[in-house]
Amino acid sequence: MSTRIFGSGIRRREDPRLITGSATYTHDITLPGMAYAAMLRSSHAHARITRIDTEKAKAAPGVLAVYTGGDIEGALQPMPCAWLLPDSNLRIAPYPCIAKDVVRYTGDIVAVVVAERMPQAHDAVELIEVDYEPLPVVTDPEKAAAADAPQLHGKDINGDDIPGNQAFHWTVAGGGDVDAAFAEAEANGVVIKERILQQRLIPNAMEPRGAVAQYNRATGELTLWNTTQNPHIVRFLCSVVTGVPEDKLRVIAPEVGGGFGSKIAAYPADFLTVFCSKSLGRPVKWIETRSENYQATTHGRDHVQDVELAATKDGKITGLRCTVHAGMGAYLSTAAPGIPTILHGLMLSGCYTIPALKEDVYGVYTNGVPVEAYRGAGRPEATFMLERVIDMLASELDLDPADVRRRNFIPKFDDGHEVVTTLNYDSGDYPGALDKLLDHTGYAALREKQKAGPANGKYLGLGLSSYVEICGLGPSQVAGAIGFQGGLWESAIVRFHPTGKVHVFIGASPHGQGEETTFAQIVASEIGVDAGDVKIFHGDTDSTPMGWGTYGSRTTAVGGAALALAVRKIRDKAKVLAAHLLEASVDDMDYEDGKFFVKGSPDKAKTIQDIALMANVAWNMPEGMEAGLEASTFYDPPNFVFPYGAHLAVVEVDASTGHVDLTGYTALDDCGPQINPIIVEGQVHGGIVQGVGQALWEGAAYDENGQLVTGSMLDYALPRADLLPDLDVISTVTRSPHHPLGVKGIGEAGTIASTAAVYNAVMDALRPLGVKRVDMPLTPERVWRAIQEAKGS
């Protein structure tokens, strides 16, 4: 009932259905007459299909249909790429829903079986006979770009060749002459060079992907339940691919069990499920297995980065020059071209004043799963390379890494700061964040402890990571300018019922983050109703207004702003109506905590509930005022928001085994005012652990034949509870000057910062042993080998 609800760590309203098992995920939907689809996926990474025989499968018990590439021609358009990178030679290879002649990764769909029951569909998939003529395979993005590399594709969708498997070459350059900066540094300063492998990662949302399609032949209407982060985008793309008009297409994202970027893209399997339902006139369900998720749901990262940093001998950065080969996988996924470019290259200068920089990014087709956004999406890869070379500079100059950061930080600013890549950061205090972190963690004392040397063969390491990220995507005009084939605004409809209860219909589509709670808190704080009186509707394209989805830490920042502004419209109308009822002038009215009253007379107030009742019955309205109490807003942000922070990782490395023990981790994050600090903290926890996973354990590996060696949860090392310390999470609050609530975003911050912090800590620990670099993940074997090699040299 008070404005204090903003900033209150109330329990999530989502939880009762989740802790009792009564939530409905896509997997849990069963419809009358439902059939089940299963995909046959290529067992080869690159091969020509010379024969497919589906007869045995078709004759198997319960099988209703088997479809191959020829069957969908004309019925399903190729998968669209929706980020058409400008200022590049973007070459989009055809991406069919079923591979007809050539398969290009282990996981490419070759056929789909529909059967009465799910086990029958899976059994029948095993009966399809396919003859493959293997073709040469390349999975490493740099090797794929070599002149003699196997070529994955013929012509692109415009009929042009795709030489060197190059999907695009994109460049960002800013500031002064970067080559001159390096010449100067070679002569009189310091140049740091490093090769960084940002390994392929598998997002691993705990809920595997799936779809339930229900096509009604009588009406021509289709409902698609889908594990998606952005149902409206799926509706749009599904319409393009399947031909079902957008007005007859309803996409529902029911309970969605995490995404981390892997549920942004539109997928062939989902649209094939639609095709099956249309073809058979029955509802069809397809749910991937976890192995299938590893084989075919988008992966993240996969950069080969060559980074050079130029600096003066006193540690002032003078230039940054990088070349990145970004593996795109076999096809360009929905948003893929924007990830290693716009979301990466434009953030290259991080928290620092860098006078000159240049980066060349080569997007390269490889025989792997398509690479898409994965938590942080481009920004972790930028933060890592910068934070790594800064630590190397510190090491080279024998300075403390904190000092080198301080010498290069952008000074504190409150209302805009244009950086070398032309982005205009909104607000930040990077030196302040680092200082507070160092003070809080007793950094100086930890350094003293480190000086004492290893204890029992265990080396202490400290790793810093200062970051700023771009989120709250974003101004739609900018979206258009950077080739994103959509807008990036958000919308909300707020409706007051006669009893003062509220329904909110919002385009954003949270999938575990908890914004049903956060959004209700926004409404409550803006207009003084109880948060419990506000119901949030999201995830259904038939009942909610257009929204561009939940990714890029944008849902609270953009959707929340749309919601706040809609409620403010209601407040404005309510004030006029209250003035009318109190026979006062609007100018004489005051508002506080859900009450409208004549200035100085708060005892004779009209509550928002009084106003809601009158507006709904409309017995006594001011002249010209419409009945009802409802408002909608389309909020198109004037700029992005730029959360920031500084993290410290503390590790112990056992030199005899190479085992890394993460013994402490402290995160300082500034996402502006926190609407629900408990939810913010939870986002930070989860984000950090995903980033730690990249540093220490996770990595998708293909063998020389393009077989996914890490094809199951047995083989892909995910973070587990016993591997982690208690995380210490603190914060500062810097408002975004342009945001209606001042808030930024927090969904990806932990992941963006933590990989570099942990990696830097391990390298700091290994410094006395002479180890300079180890490729991630920093498994005991790799660390141990690096120690042995350093001993040998």
Partner: protein, 159 residues
């Protein structure tokens, strides 16, 4: 070939004829229509499918339905006492021990087992006790807090 099974699920006797290869998790989700138990992987690693069989936790994706013949199975739907949540459900809610909720049913039942065998665990014991269950959202910290909280509540109730 089908074989008869009699399994008591959340106090209700269910009798069905099933294929011998049918996994308990599919028995629960498809035959009993209790979808709270989740399938998160196919290698018995994630623990989303954890249930209690005769009070002891088991991964229902690696248990055949026929193995549970004659047993009593508790799923997440059977934990609450009517409207009253189980203390673990309360503590997961209170401590923000879940985000997307997909691992939660299994996590809560694995925690149930942990507290059954060790009523007042240390943080470290909780972390080891839950290493067979994967959560991708929370980073586990609030799950540890939740289990600790539930243990404390149980200890309080005993006094």
């Amino acid at each position: 070939m089908k074989v008869p099974v009699r399994i008591t699920v959340n106090g209700r006797l269910i009798e069905r004829e099933v294929e011998p290869r049918l996994l308990l998790v599919h028995f629960l989700r498809v035959f009993v229509e209790l979808t709270g138990t989740k399938v998160g992987c196919d290698t018995s690693q994630c623990g989303s499918c954890t249930v209690l069989i005769d009070g002891v936790s088991a991964k229902s994706c690696t248990t055949l339905a026929v193995q549970a013949d004659g047993a009593s199975v508790t799923t997440v739907e059977g934990l609450a006492d009517g409207e009253k949540l189980h203390p673990l459900q309360e503590s997961f809610w209170n401590k923000h021990g879940l985000q997307c909720g997909f691992c939660t049913p299994g996590m809560i039942l694995a925690s149930h087992e942990l507290l059954r065998t060790n009523p007042s665990p240390s943080d470290e014991e909780i972390r080891h006790g839950l290493e067979g269950n994967i959560c991708r959202c929370t980073g586990y910290q609030n799950i540890v807090r939740a289990v600790k909280d539930a243990a404390g509540a149980a200890a309080g109730a005993d006094q």
